[in-house]
Symmetry: C2
Subunit: 222 residues, 2 copies
């Protein structure tokens, strides 16, 4: 694969209209049309280089996945990864995945109410300083958006290596009326779970013996 400069990256992304979405509002309310079916939609917010979402999309053909991140370069890498995994598994381009260049700050610009069934938050930036607390993806202002796009039901699956972010998020989820489930302070305590697809970060942390915190938050309480 030839190396691409910034201009090359943009062109490369624009050529992949089946997989890459550069105008996040284009499919709002119509994601089921984009995928051409009514399968549930699972979105990863802050997908990074895309290992998680690309692997999930290959492992779960019954689900449509949407990976969101802000940077062209991350979308490019994720698209390459997703294409490679899909070709390896099925001999064709991915058909249940969209990679959307978008800022999660404006999540409701890309999803209509109730359009998403599950949200993944993997190793979100912990923003440790108090003055940046509003940027944490589990801040109540984000939880409000998630409840909206999940349509008052659905789940958020959250994992992180940050004890501080995890502690913070247990409180914000709980205070926001989510019901918490499968809370663990060490996801890989008993070895890797075959069901738990790892992100690039996670693989590194697990190799270093660092614990991964994880929880599932159910919208709508009990």
């Amino acid at each position: 694969m030839r190396l691409r400069g910034k201009k090359g990256t943009r062109e490369f992304l624009e050529e992949q209209k089946d997989l890459v979405v550069l105008d996040p509002g284009a499919h709002k309310g119509n994601w089921r049309s984009f995928f051409g079916n009514g399968k549930p939609i699972h979105a990863e917010l802050g997908m990074g280089k895309g290992q998680f979402i690309a692997t999930m999309s290959v492992k779960h053909p019954d689900v449509n996945f949407i990976g969101v991140d802000r940077y062209d370069e991350l979308i490019r890498r994720a698209s390459l990864k997703a294409d490679a995994l899909s070709r390896e598994a099925f001999g064709r381009r991915p058909d249940n995945l969209a990679l959307v260049r978008h800022n999660v700050e404006y999540l409701t610009d890309m999803f209509a109410d109730g359009e998403v069934d599950r949200i993944y938050l993997n190793f979100s930036d912990p923003w440790p300083k108090k003055k940046h607390i509003r940027r944490r993806l589990t801040h109540p202002r984000f939880l409000d958006m998630y409840v909206k796009v999940l349509g008052g039901r659905g789940e958020i699956h959250f994992k992180t290596d940050s004890a501080e972010l995890f502690e913070y998020s247990l409180n914000t989820f709980s205070d926001h009326g989510f019901r918490l489930r499968n809370i663990t302070f060490n996801l890989h305590r008993d070895g890797a779970h075959p069901d738990h697809v790892m992100t690039e970060y996670e693989q590194k942390f697990v190799e270093q013996g660092k614990p991964i915190y994880r929880l599932e938050a159910l919208v709508g309480g009990h």
Copy 2:
């Protein structure tokens, strides 16, 4: 104070009918009569040597406290502590405290439904082995009892130095329909809270720089 053998301890306890209750069923359904008023009742299950409950009873004259533990010797120590603190603060015996010798296994033998307003679980035995999991005071079978004596409302305040017990309890409380609040992985992170009365264990752990985990669980969800 003279040292007492086992026989002396029992006699010593029997002399304190205003404070010490050796027959746990004697006041079931009538704890408000025992105290002679209708103040809320807060019970500590597994009070140990009683520093927490004795201090709380002096700090909160508006609440009736009941400390429960299984051993005569712990009841004796707690009674001495409570008497000393009350005399120091008010110049008289405690009047808003009962120390009950009882096994928490049979909690519903000492409290009628809805008779308790708040339960404290402080540094409960973590019972780390899987085969002893049923003995953990946050096992679902105990949570059932707590909901019963709390009458489907009220709160449980839980603290521990055990990350394993805390992780376990987050799940059992959450799965049981409690709403969680004020979850912290390090209660004394920013120095000691004046509102947080420490147990004997806790004081030792904090001096050693060990984190204390704490949560509040509200019965009845949201």
